[in-house]
């Protein structure tokens, strides 16, 4: 089954994918409903990337599940990630 794969060491924590994802789902820029959630710990500076499946149930309710941008040639998070940290693996 096709899925997003995040290559953590490449991720620079910019959250551009959140913008792109929300635009795909709603036509709006609204990171709070993105299927991906990126945050960095202000003390350890560690970047954490959570995909929809890894979110809490409460969070899942507020966010769109990833549909791999099926109406697009390429998932928008993959297209706009500046470091190519996101890719699609597996097959439909």
């Amino acid at each position: 089954m096709a899925a997003l794969q995040i290559e953590h060491p490449r991720c620079v924590g910019c959250r551009t994918c959140e913008l792109a994802c929300s635009f795909h789902h709603t036509g709006l820029f609204k990171p709070s409903i993105s299927s991906l959630r990126i945050f960095w710990d202000s003390m350890t500076k560690e970047i954490r990337v959570l995909q929809h499946d890894n979110l809490t149930d409460a969070e899942k309710m507020k966010r769109f599940p990833c549909d791999l941008c099926k109406t697009e040639a390429l998932p928008l998070c993959v297209k706009y990630c500046p470091t190519q940290a996101i890719s699609v693996v597996g097959e439909e």
């Binding site: 060491p9 620079v12 924590g13 910019c14 959250r15 551009t16 913008l19 792109a20 929300s22 635009f23 709603t26 036509g27 709006l28 820029f29 609204k30 990171p31 709070s32 409903i33 945050f39 960095w40 710990d41 202000s42 003390m43 350890t44 500076k45 970047i47 706009y80 500046p82 470091t83």
Partner: protein, 643 residues
């Protein structure tokens, strides 16, 4: 609230004296002034009166997001904060990267305008359109890093974005700045001190609201076009790889390094050799850091030893930190810059202004003007990181000699006297960070800057690569037949007036200057920004329209300076050190700025603006052309308009 695409649509007003808050619509300002810095400056001009001092409760402290912030427009992640400056007495304006600006829009506001002064320390908490002033007594005295951690824990959300001041701002150090994301500084002009004077420790924002563009398909096409332009740019790739520090050697060869308080503009290459970008990548870089919609991710996260404090993890530093802490203070331990940069961020100290005043003090000590009696027993020597760290701590807390240094070099030198004024290198009262003898267009842009010493108004970089600039491009962008080299004054007034407008545009759209033709002529032009802006807002503008708005914004700042600080032509001359003392080593040894040539280039610059050559003041005709009759009327009443 009237809907306005690409904006949150509301401006939050906060009276800290009464605790009252209210909102107004953004659209009354956005068409004329774009957003961000443009709207901030208009509100500042309208509401702050010349008789108010910077620390008067009547001063406004205005946070502004930009018109494109919160969208996928490349590099639209900048925040601008404006106020009357306690350093120059005129325009105060600072601009920073980070997540705060977009979060403010997602929280439902394009701008926050603070006025008044709280009775005791407070912070503003904005959560999805709801704003509340809260007690901040428990945060007073804390560093910006501690403040961020405590507030995030207290408010229970990692994604809250915080802009705060450290001890420097609390103690009204005129070298204080505002910090977001622990390392992104709204620097220069003493804005942290204005925040401190209002007893405002921090602003915390969290938002889940959307930013909607008017024509989504056209907007995404404009985004793709802009990203393609950036992808093809060779210089952009340089920035991507090394950040702003990528041109380390080239800028030293161009004699643009301040050395020992500008006693020279060329740094010993054997020292610079230890500090090349590759060394930081190999020895201290943990990872790269990017911010919303930024294709450059030019920031770096470093880990460094601090001796008795253990390891320090800090997002670091821009090129100016190398100039400030290394060549200016002649420190050649490469890891020092990471520590000094980090401590400035913690204290909420502007690195440019702080290092400049420290360099002035060290030179005064070297010349016997300051002695150990003045310096609390410290031996002020070049190349001594420990002394610099101690001075930074003293400045932030206004302790001992720090109380004088916290005033900035112009005011400090007046307090000290004894000839110390001669070594205070400042522009319009603000400590000057830039070496200016070698590159004339760069120097002109710094000297005429509306916010005092800075290269982020009209200063240009293209003269340094003049030999590869196509004359067609020169004609199209700047209206000159070719770009002359840095040693020539020819055509530099045109470059400066162009970049003044461009800087106003990018600060008002909320995009990064490094995405533009400022960093490299093959990057984004006003036409590219107009395409993004038009699709985002639905207001159809072209590049020329944007340049006109940029000129308007610049003229508001100019008028503010005339009214508040009485600046005239005299204030647009370089510090004497750059006209009377030559570069003493390196490829351009013997170079300096020439007074008579400066006279001519200033004439040319004022003429391009349509300003009066004798006084530098604005004319009624120029302001009318820009639709600023209201500004002209205020200047006329004060006898400061040339009819």
């Amino acid at each position: 609230m009237r809907k306005i695409f690409s904006f949150a649509g509301r401006i939050l007003r906060v009276d800290l004296t009464s605790g009252k808050m209210w909102t107004e619509c953004t659209d009354q300002y956005a068409l004329s002034f774009l957003g961000g810095r443009g709207v901030n400056q208009w509100i500042l001009f309208k509401e702050v009166k010349p008789w108010m001092t910077a620390f008067d409760p009547g001063n406004r402290l205005i946070f502004g997001s930009g018109a494109l912030v919160g969208t996928l427009a490349p590099c639209a992640t900048r925040l601008t904060v404006d106020a009357k400056s306690p350093v120059t007495g005129g325009v105060g304006s600072g601009n920073s990267c980070g997540f705060f600006s977009a979060e403010l829009k997602f929280a439902g506001y394009d701008h926050i305008v603070f006025q008044g002064r709280a009775r005791s320390p407070v912070y503003l908490w904005i959560d999805d359109g709801k704003a509340e002033l809260r007690d901040a007594s428990f945060l007073w005295g804390k560093s910006t890093w501690e403040t961020e951690e405590i507030l995030k824990n207290k408010l229970g959300d990692e994604q809250i974005q915080i802009a705060s001041i450290g001890p420097a701002g609390e103690n009204l150090a005129r070298t204080a700045c505002i910090i977001t994301n622990q390392a992104r500084a709204v620097g220069r002009c003493g804005l942290g001190a204005v925040m401190g004077s209002k007893n405002l420790k921090a602003v915390a924002v969290r938002g889940k609201l959307p930013v909607e563009v008017a024509r989504p398909k056209a907007f995404m096409a404009a985004v793709d076009h802009a990203l393609e332009v950036i992808r093809k740019s060779e210089r952009a790739n340089d920035l991507k790889q090394w950040g702003t520090y990528g041109r380390a050697t080239k800028l030293n060869e161009a004699c643009l390094y301040p050395v020992r308080n500008f006693q020279d503009d060329f740094w010993d290459p054997s020292k610079l050799q230890k500090l090349l970008p590759e060394a930081y990548k190999t020895n201290w870089e943990v990872r790269r850091q990017g911010y919303l919609a930024c294709p450059f991710y030019c920031s770096h996260l470093y880990e460094v030893e601090t001796g008795n404090c253990g390891k320090l993890l800090c997002e670091g530093f821009e090129f100016n930190s190398i100039w400030n802490f290394m060549s200016r203070l002649d420190i050649d331990d490469p890891s020092a810059v990471i520590r000094l940069h980090a401590f400035c961020n913690k204290y909420g100290l502007d690195i440019d202004s702080s290092s400049c005043v420290i360099a002035w003090a060290i030179e005064c000590y070297e010349r016997g003007i300051l002695t150990e009696e003045d310096t609390d027993g410290l031996k002020l020597e070049w190349g001594n990181e420990d002394v610099v760290l101690e001075l930074l701590r003293k400045i932030a807390h206004r302790q001992g000699i720090g109380d004088i240094l916290a005033e900035g070099c112009q005011k400090a030198s007046s307090l000290v006297g004894r000839g110390a004024e001669r070594y205070a290198v400042h522009l319009k009262g603000q400590d000057s960070m830039e070496a200016m003898r070698a590159a004339k267009g760069w120097a002109l842009g710094c000297c005429v800057s509306t916010r005092g010493g800075t290269h982020t108004r009209g200063a240009n970089l293209v003269e340094l690569s003049h030999e590869v600039i196509d004359p067609e491009l020169a004609k199209r962008l700047w209206g000159i037949s070719k770009v002359e080299g840095p040693s020539s004054y020819e055509g530099k007034a045109q470059l400066v007036t162009y970049y003044e407008k461009l800087q106003a545009i990018v600060d008002s759209l909320g995009v990064c200057l490094f995405s533009s033709v400022w960093w490299s002529p093959d990057l984004l032009t006003p036409e590219d920004y107009a395409r993004l802006y038009s699709a985002a807002t639905g207001y159809q503008l072209d590049g020329q329209d944007l340049l006109l708005i940029g000129e308007r914004i610049h003229n508001i700042e100019k008028a503010f300076n005339t009214l508040h600080a009485s600046f005239t032509r005299e204030d647009d001359y370089p510090p004497l050190r750059f006209t009377e003392e030559v570069i003493s080593s390196g490829p351009l040894q013997g170079e300096r700025l020439m007074k008579e040539k400066w006279d001519r280039v200033l004439d040319e610059y004022y003429e391009l603006h349509g300003w009066d050559k004798a006084t530098s003041w604005q004319t009624a005709k120029c302001l009318q052309k820009l639709g600023l009759q209201e500004v002209a009327e205020v200047l006329r009443k004060m006898g400061m308009l040339i009819e």
